[in-house]
C-alpha cells in the first residue's frame, strides 16, 4: 500500500528525501523547484512513513497527504471566454492541483447555450483520457438540467458543479453534483467559497475511489508508478522534456510527454526485470493531447500474469 504525500521544504539537502524514497521502494512523481523551495510529490510505502516523517522533521520541511496524487483530472468549461474564465474554473483547477492531482483545463468549442451546445467526438475522447472530470456550469438550474447531453457519453466519472441546489435523481449521468460554485466574477476567497472547493475535492476523491474499486476487481498487470520508473530509466530523453510533468500518471496507465512518432516504439520496447516489455502488457498509442504517448496497462485477465 503506497501513501501519496507532498513534501514542501528548502532545496538544500532535499536530495536526501529523494534518496530515502528510492531506498524505501517508493516513487517520486513530480519535483517542482521554485527559487529556494522545492515541492516533491511522492508515493511512499505506508509502513515506512515514520522514516520519512523523521527525515522531514530533520530538514524542517512540511509533509502533507496528497489524496489525489498520481491522477489526472480534467476541468471543463463551456468555452474559454471571459464569462467562464478565470473564475471559478481556474480556482477549481488550482485547488485540485494543490491536492496533488495533475489538472488540465479544457474549454469546449461549442459548449455554450442551452439549445445549441454540443460536444464532439474528439473532445469526448480527450476527456476520457483522464481519471475524472469536473464540469463547471452556471447559476441557472434549467441550464444545468438541459446540458446533460454534454457529458452523457463520457466513460470517466463526471463531477458537475453549479450554483443552485439540485436533486441527485435529476442528474442521473453525473457521479456527483456540487452546489454553490456557479458563475462568479471574483476570486474564491470567502470561507463559503473555499468550502465549496473542498466539497469538489471530496467528490473527486470519491469518484477516484470508485474507479480504483472497479480496477481492483481485475487488477492491472503492473502498477503505473512502476511502469513510469522503467520508462524513465530506459528512455532517458523523457527527462529532457520541457513539460512540468514529463510523465503524468493515470490510475490505469501513463501519459508520456514525448512525440509518439519518434518515441512510440522505444516506449513499447522498454523491458521490465521479469523479461516482458511494456508493449506486451500495455497498449501504447498516440494521445489526443498534442502528440504525446498514451500508455494503458492491460488487466491481468488479458495478460494472465503480474509483474
Amino acid at each position: 500500500m503506497l501513501d501519496p504525500v507532498m513534501f514542501t521544504g528548502g532545496v538544500y539537502k532535499h536530495d536526501l528525501v529523494t534518496e530515502l524514497i528510492e531506498d524505501l521502494g517508493g516513487y517520486l512523481l513530480q519535483k517542482n523547484v521554485t527559487q529556494s523551495e522545492v515541492i516533491l510529490l511522492m508515493l511512499v510505502p505506508h509502513e515506512d512513513m515514520p522514516a520519512l516523517e523523521a527525515m522531514t522533521k530533520e530538514l524542517k520541511g512540511k509533509l502533507e497527504r496528497a489524496p489525489l496524487a498520481g491522477t489526472e483530472i480534467a476541468v471543463v468549461t463551456p468555452t474559454l471566454a471571459i464569462h467562464h474564465l478565470p473564475h471559478p474554473a481556474c480556482d477549481v483547477a488550482e485547488y485540485i492541483r494543490r491536492h496533488g492531482a495533475k489538472s488540465n483545463m479544457i474549454g469546449m468549442g461549442r459548449g455554450v447555450a442551452r439549445e445549441i451546445s454540443q460536444m464532439d467526438e474528439f473532445e469526448t475522447a480527450l476527456i476520457n483520457e483522464h481519471d475524472a472530470v469536473v464540469f463547471t456550469f452556471g447559476n441557472f438550474a434549467d441550464c444545468i438540467l438541459k446540458k446533460e447531453h454534454l457529458y452523457r457519453t463520457l466513460t470517466v466519472p463526471v463531477i458537475v458543479t453549479g450554483g443552485p441546489e439540485m436533486k441527485k435523481e435529476d442528474l442521473p449521468y453525473a457521479f456527483e453534483y456540487v452546489k454553490n460554485v456557479g458563475r462568479i466574477a471574483h476570486r474564491s476567497r470567502k470561507a463559503t467559497e473555499i468550502g465549496s472547493l473542498d466539497n469538489i475535492i471530496a467528490a473527486v476523491g470519491r469518484a477516484l475511489d470508485s474507479v480504483r474499486a472497479s480496477i481492483s476487481k481485475d487488477p492491472l498487470t503492473t502498477t503505473p508508478p512502476r511502469a513510469m520508473e522503467v520508462v524513465r530509466e530506459q528512455v532517458p530523453d523523457v527527462t529532457q522534456s520541457l513539460s512540468p510533468l514529463p510523465i503524468a500518471l493515470n490510475l490505469n496507465g501513463l501519459r508520456i510527454k514525448l512525440p509518439y512518432e519518434e518515441y512510440g516504439e522505444a516506449v513499447a520496447g522498454v523491458e521490465f526485470d521479469e523479461g516482458v516489455t511494456l508493449g506486451e502488457i500495455a497498449k501504447v498509442m498516440p494521445s489526443r493531447m498534442k502528440n504525446y504517448i498514451l500508455v494503458r496497462i492491460l488487466p491481468v485477465s488479458e495478460t494472465g500474469f503480474v509483474v
Binding site: P78, T79, A81, I82, H83, H84, V112, A113, R114, E115, I116, S117, G138, N139, F140, A141, D142, C143, G163, P164, E165, G182, R183, I184, A185, H186
Partner: protein, 191 residues
C-alpha cells in the same frame, strides 16, 4: 433627474431564485471592475429562462462633461507660451495627442516627465482631452456583454441620452420578444 449611484437595483428571474441572487453579485463585480457604478442611477434586470432572454434597463446619472486640458493639469502662463504640469498621468497620452493635433508637434515640448510646454499665444485650457461620455458608453456596452450569459449571442441595445436598454437571447430576436421584455421591465419600474 437627480439620482444616487445605483439607488435602485432590481433583478428578477422567475423560477431561478438562486440565479437572481448570484447575478446581482456578478453585475456588481463587473460594474465595479469597470468603474461604472457611480454613473448608473437605476438598474432593472429581467431574465426569462424559458424563452430564454436576458434584458436590462438602466438610467444614467447625468451627462459627463468632456475632459479639458485645465481639468487634467495645472496651467500657468510661461515665457512664450503656457506650461502644463500633470499630476495624474492617466490622461498624459491623450493630452499630448490633443496638443499635437491643435498646435503641431514642433510647438509642444516636454522638458520633464510630467511637464508640457505649449508655444502659443492663446491658452490651451479649453482643448478637449478625452470624451468621457463616449468612453463611458463604450465601457457600459462592454460591461453588458460581459454580464449577459455567454450562450445569449444575439444582442440588441438601444442607447438614449439618459437611459439604455439591452437585450440578449439565444434565438433570433423578434419584435415580440423586444416588446415582451420592455413590458416586463416597465412593470418592474412602475412597481
Amino acid at each position: 433627474m437627480e439620482m444616487d449611484p445605483l439607488e435602485v437595483f432590481e433583478v428578477e428571474m422567475p423560477g431561478e431564485g438562486y440565479g437572481a441572487e448570484k447575478y446581482r453579485e456578478i453585475i456588481m463585480d463587473i460594474l465595479q471592475d469597470l468603474g461604472l457604478i457611480r454613473s448608473i442611477g437605476r438598474l432593472y434586470v429581467y431574465v426569462d429562462i424559458e424563452a430564454p432572454y436576458f434584458a436590462v434597463f438602466g438610467m444614467i446619472r447625468g451627462k459627463l462633461p468632456p475632459l479639458k486640458v485645465e481639468d487634467v493639469g495645472d496651467l500657468v502662463a510661461a515665457e512664450g507660451g503656457y506650461q502644463i504640469t500633470v499630476e495624474d498621468e492617466e490622461h498624459m497620452a491623450g493630452l499630448i495627442r490633443a496638443l499635437w493635433g491643435a498646435y503641431g508637434r514642433e510647438k509642444v515640448e516636454q522638458p520633464d516627465r510630467n511637464v508640457l510646454v505649449v508655444l502659443s499665444e492663446e491658452s490651451p485650457g479649453g482643448l478637449v482631452v478625452a470624451d468621457t461620455e463616449t468612453e463611458f458608453r463604450r465601457d457600459l456596452l462592454d460591461a453588458l456583454v460581459r454580464i449577459a450569459p455567454e450562450g445569449f449571442r444575439n444582442r440588441r441595445n438601444e442607447m438614449a441620452k439618459d437611459n439604455f436598454f439591452f437585450l440578449a437571447a439565444e434565438e433570433t430576436i423578434t419584435p415580440e420578444i423586444i416588446a415582451e421584455a420592455k413590458e416586463k421591465l416597465g412593470g418592474m419600474r412602475d412597481a
